[in-house]
Structure formats: structure tokens, C-alpha cells
């Protein structure tokens, strides 16, 4: 039993990387993930990555923020302590719109940001977990879970053939821990 946990193919060129993905998929090697310093068109469809549901979270947070603010203004200015402002009635909906709008936007923004941090295990002060630090610079990293894919030498050859400049057999998943 090999102690390799992850096999990383390091590519210089995203086109080679895409080529490598095709090769691995043709040979039924499952790909754990790909790390890239820039977006690559068409890669999510190729890897079968589902659309992000972040938008739904944003929508929910927006609705929540808007409702909270509207109820709050309603409670303060209409229910608890009605004040005559400029001769308007005590439930002047147009006057409530700007603040409700602002809170909708604010909660959408914050809600979306924190959901993103939560989902990606990223938040200020935490060292990000990275498989290869060069993926944030100029290299494209293709990661394969070595424990569920056998024939490690064949995978290495496939990656080399596809144009990988380096193939690493890592015994730990991340190079950086917090």
C-alpha cells in the first residue's frame, strides 16, 4: 500500500491542462479538483461542477434583510410611537422604501460574503489550505485522489504525456495548514 494521498500534475499551460483532463477521463481516472490562478473557460462543464447556489443564499439574505428592516420601521414609527412627520399618515410606505432597500442590499452583500467564507472554509485570519502554493501564481494544478485511483505510475505517465512539467506524489493533502 502506497502512502501517497494525492497525485498532483503541475501544468504551465491551461490548454495542456484541459488536454490532461480529457486523457484522464478517457482512462476512467477520477479527478479530485483543479487549481488555477485564473478562470478557464469551459472547465466547470468538463469537470461536471454544478452551478453555484450562492445566488439563492444571496436572494434569501436579501429578503430577510428587507423584511427585518420593514418590520422594524413599521414597529417603531407606526405601531409603538407614531409621529406626525410632515402631515403624512402613520404608515407612509414610500418613506420606508429607501431604508428597506438599503438593508436588502446590505444583507445581500454581507450574507453572500459570509456564506462564501463558510462554504470555502475561508475567513479573515485563517491560513488558506492549498495543495500547491504555485497554483496562486503561475501554475495550473490538477489533483487526483490517489487512494481511490490505482495504477499511480500510469497516471503519472498520462499526466507527463499531456504536458505536465512536474508530477508530485504527496503524502499529505495540503502543504499549508493554519
Amino acid at each position: 500500500m502506497s502512502s501517497t494521498k494525492y497525485i498532483l500534475g503541475v501544468f504551465d499551460d491551461p490548454d495542456d491542462l484541459m488536454h490532461g483532463i480529457d486523457k484522464l477521463q478517457k482512462n476512467s481516472v477520477s479527478i479530485y479538483d483543479v487549481y488555477s490562478p485564473c478562470p478557464i473557460h469551459g472547465i466547470d462543464a468538463k469537470l461536471g461542477i454544478k452551478d453555484s447556489r450562492l445566488g439563492y443564499a444571496a436572494f434569501m439574505f436579501g429578503c430577510l434583510g428587507g423584511s427585518i428592516m420593514f418590520s422594524m420601521v413599521y414597529y417603531m414609527l407606526t405601531h409603538d410611537w407614531p409621529i406626525n412627520i410632515g402631515g403624512k399618515n402613520f404608515f407612509p410606505i414610500p418613506n420606508f422604501v429607501p431604508v428597506t432597500f438599503e438593508w436588502t442590499v446590505l444583507w445581500t452583500a454581507f450574507g453572500m460574503t459570509f456564506t462564501f467564507f463558510f462554504a470555502t472554509h475561508l475567513f479573515p485570519g485563517r491560513a488558506p489550505r492549498v495543495m500547491d502554493l504555485r497554483a496562486t501564481n503561475d501554475k495550473f494544478i490538477l489533483a487526483i485522489d490517489a487512494r481511490i485511483n490505482g495504477a499511480h505510475d500510469d497516471i503519472t505517465n498520462l499526466l507527463k504525456e499531456a504536458g505536465a512539467v512536474e508530477v508530485k506524489h504527496n503524502e499529505r493533502k495540503y502543504v499549508s495548514y493554519e
Binding site: 410632515g86 414610500p94 422604501v97
Partner: protein
């Protein structure tokens, strides 16, 4: 991806679309004649102004669309530029029609009611264009209008409208010319030239469209003013134009043209429609809230007229169609990527912004009818169909006058063909 597209594809304007657009024009002409014959001249003039303004605005915004893409150096839109370019090509004609409507409306007079008095006044712009309105001692004298006469007088008014529309037409013509020359010669020389004149155009357009809206629409009720009105009209014009561009592209695709346009392009257009519908609401509400909050009679009278039982349902429907509908229908990614949903939303917004202009124009010109549902009758529908037919006929003829339906040597064309979001 691009290998099986022919960039020499030429659009032929024939078949059903041509027949229907000619039928539309015929319906429009019959309706206009019927309106004058049956003694509905005022209502006919108001509708002509509405549709003339709508038509001109869409063509103006076609130039604006092209200029915006050049100045922002946008790549995604390069392959669909021919559609707004066709609108820009139609602008001189639209401008002439609008100017004829305005001159006719200013010169033909009939007895009508101005602030309780029966006065012989022009059909359009009666409040400031009636004879003697600035002459002290005249029975038509009005101090407020006299104070605005330095700006609102016939020669300056017409000079402004002709000047603005003339300038926009020239810029549209130049952008089209550069794009077509680029097709012949290639290179980036004409792209950078387009960039330069687009930048100049945007400055001019930005400062003059509010004035254009003040003149053509807001001065119908010359006692009232709102500084927000220009941007509000800009938003209406931009959303309706984006919808018409999108609908035209969807239709062209269904006819087998422009097959390089993918869901991704339509998604981007849908995003713009969605975003600017929200912007429209923002400007609409900014104008409304200040008037509501300050509650000064001379300002509130504008909304009071639209709050009459005959106009109130249309006033609210305007918000429902132009704000709630796009908000709920095309917020989700999937609905923007569904051609069917997007096409229906375009149709809704095109009618919605007609209603928007309707609510701006009618209370101050025709005034309330007997019942609220009688506000929109055969005259409104007939003239709308007439101008819709005219628009389709003229823009599609303009599109067929281009050698190909794609600017094939546009420097960003490759980026546009691979546009993916």
C-alpha cells in the same frame, strides 16, 4: 466553434415579417386618418407624439449601445453589433418623423381648455406655445411660463430638438461607416477611430438626452418640472431598447440568421435588461418620493393628475410591468438563459415602456376619459401597431443593407464568438 459560421451571411428582408410590418403600417395610417376624421385630433396627436418619441428613442439608444461598447472596449457584443447599428441607421428617418409631428402639433390649433378658460391653442405644448402667453396684459398671459420663455420658445425649442437629433444621427452614421470600412480593410485603425468618436458622442449624449426628454415630454406640462425626469426617461429608453435588441436577435436566430449568438450573449443582454429595469425603478421612485415627501402643491399636482381614478390603474400597472415583472421573471440565471422566457419578458417590457410613456404624456394632453378602461382604445392600439410595423420595416431594411450580419473584421470578434458566462 466559429468554423461553421459564414461571416458573409447577408440578411434578406422578405416573407411574413415584411408582409406583417406593411400591414402594421397600413393599420397605423388608417387609424391616424380615422382619428382626425372622427374628431379625435388631440388624442391622435398625443399618440403620434408618444410613438414618434418611442421610435426615435429606440434608434438613439441604438447609437448609444454601439458607442458604449466601443468606449468600454467590450468584446462580448462584437458579433451582435449589426442590430443596434441598424437602429442607428434608422435614426434620421425617426428623427424626421418626430420633428414633423412636433411641428404639426405646434402649428395646428383648436379651441381647448387651459386652466378653466377656453383658448385656441396648439394641439401639442399648449401651455407654453399658446399665443400671447408671454405678453403682459394678454388674456393668455401666464407669469410662470413667461419666466421660462427664455428657454421654452418655439425657435429655440425646435433648434434644440433638430440639433440634438441631427448630432446623434451624424454620430450614428459615422460609427456605421467606420464599421463597414473596417469590414473591407481590417486592422484596428477604424476601431480606435470609433472609440474616439464614441467617447465624444457619450459626453454629448449624456448632457443632451435629459434636455431632449425635458423638451419633448416634460414641457407638455410646462408648469411642473423635475430634474430627475431626464434620467428617468433615459432609463425607460435604454430598457426598452435593450428589450427590442434582444427580441430582434431572438427573432433573427429563429429565422436561421446569426447562429453564432449563443445563450451566453442572450444571458448578458438579459442581465442588462434586468439591471436597468431596477435602475428605471430607482429613478422613477427617486422622482416620486421627493414629490410625495415634500408635498408642495405645485409639484404634487403632477402625480395628483395620475392619481385620478381614470389613470390610477395604469399608473400602478406601469410599476408592476416594468419593475415587478422583470424582477421576478428574469432574476434567476436559468430564466435569462431560456430563450422563450426572455422573449416574453422582452415583449412585456416593450409594452411596459409604452405604458410608461403613456402615463407621462396622456394626463397632460388628452386628460381623463369617461372610464379608466377607455383610456387605451383603438387609437392607441392602432397607432402603436403602425409604428411597430414602421420600426420593423425600416430597421430590417437597414439591416439588409449591410453586406453581412456581423462586423467580420471587428478586432474583438473572436472574443465575442467565445463569450461564455
Amino acid at each position: 466553434m466559429s468554423t461553421h459560421n459564414s461571416f458573409d451571411e447577408h440578411f434578406e428582408f422578405t416573407g411574413k415579417a415584411k408582409t406583417y410590418s406593411l400591414v402594421g403600417i397600413a393599420i397605423g395610417i388608417i387609424t391616424i386618418l380615422a382619428g382626425f376624421v372622427t374628431n379625435h385630433s388631440l388624442q391622435t396627436f398625443a399618440n403620434l407624439l408618444l410613438m414618434g418619441y418611442y421610435f426615435t428613442c429606440v434608434c438613439m439608444a441604438g447609437v448609444f449601445f454601439c458607442a458604449l461598447q466601443y468606449v468600454s472596449q467590450a468584446g462580448w457584443s462584437a458579433s451582435l453589433l449589426r442590430v443596434p447599428q441598424a437602429f442607428a441607421k434608422t435614426l434620421p428617418l425617426a428623427a424626421v418623423i418626430l420633428i414633423i409631428i412636433i411641428i404639426a402639433g405646434l402649428s395646428l390649433t383648436h379651441p381647448q381648455d387651459i386652466e378653466g378658460k377656453s383658448v385656441v391653442a396648439p394641439y401639442l405644448y399648449k401651455l407654453w406655445a399658446v399665443n400671447g402667453v408671454t405678453v403682459k396684459g394678454n388674456e393668455n398671459f401666464n407669469a410662470v411660463i413667461a419666466g421660462k420663455a427664455g428657454y421654452l420658445n418655439r425657435p429655440f425649442f425646435l433648434a434644440r430638438i433638430i440639433g440634438f437629433l441631427g448630432a446623434y444621427s451624424i454620430f450614428g452614421w459615422l460609427l456605421n461607416k467606420y464599421s463597414q470600412t473596417e469590414d473591407e480593410l481590417g486592422g484596428v485603425f477604424y476601431y480606435s477611430k470609433s472609440f474616439t468618436i464614441s467617447a465624444a458622442f457619450l459626453v454629448i449624449f449624456g448632457f443632451t438626452t435629459p434636455l431632449f426628454a425635458f423638451d419633448v415630454i416634460m414641457s407638455l406640462e410646462a408648469h411642473w418640472f423635475s430634474t430627475m425626469f431626464g434620467w428617468y426617461n433615459f432609463a425607460a429608453m435604454w430598457v426598452s431598447t435593450l428589450s427590442i435588441i434582444t427580441l430582434t436577435i431572438i427573432w433573427l436566430r429563429s429565422q436561421g440568421y446569426m447562429q453564432w449568438i449563443t445563450q451566453n450573449h442572450l444571458h448578458s443582454l438579459g442581465q442588462l435588461m434586468f439591471g436597468f429595469s431596477i435602475f428605471w425603478t430607482y429613478t422613477w421612485f427617486a422622482q416620486f418620493l421627493l414629490v410625495y415627501y415634500a408635498n408642495i402643491p405645485e409639484e404634487a399636482v403632477y402625480f395628483l393628475k395620475r392619481w385620478e381614478p381614470e389613470f390610477k390603474p395604469w399608473f400602478w400597472l406601469n410599476i408592476v410591468i416594468n419593475f415587478l415583472a422583470p424582477l421576478l421573471i428574469i432574476m434567476a440565471r436559468d430564466s435569462k438563459r431560456s430563450t422563450k422566457v426572455l422573449a416574453w419578458t422582452c415583449g412585456l417590457l416593450i409594452v411596459g415602456h409604452w405604458l410608461d410613456y403613456f402615463v407621462m404624456i396622456m394626463p397632460g394632453t388628452v386628460g381623463p376619459q369617461a372610464e379608466w378602461w377607455m383610456e387605451i382604445g383603438p387609437l392607441e392600439i392602432g397607432i402603436f401597431l403602425g409604428f411597430a410595423g414602421l420600426f420593423v420595416f425600416t430597421t430590417m431594411t437597414a439591416l439588409s443593407s449591410f453586406k453581412s450580419t456581423i462586423p467580420k473584421k471587428h478586432p474583438f470578434l473572436e472574443e465575442s464568438l467565445h463569450h461564455q458566462i
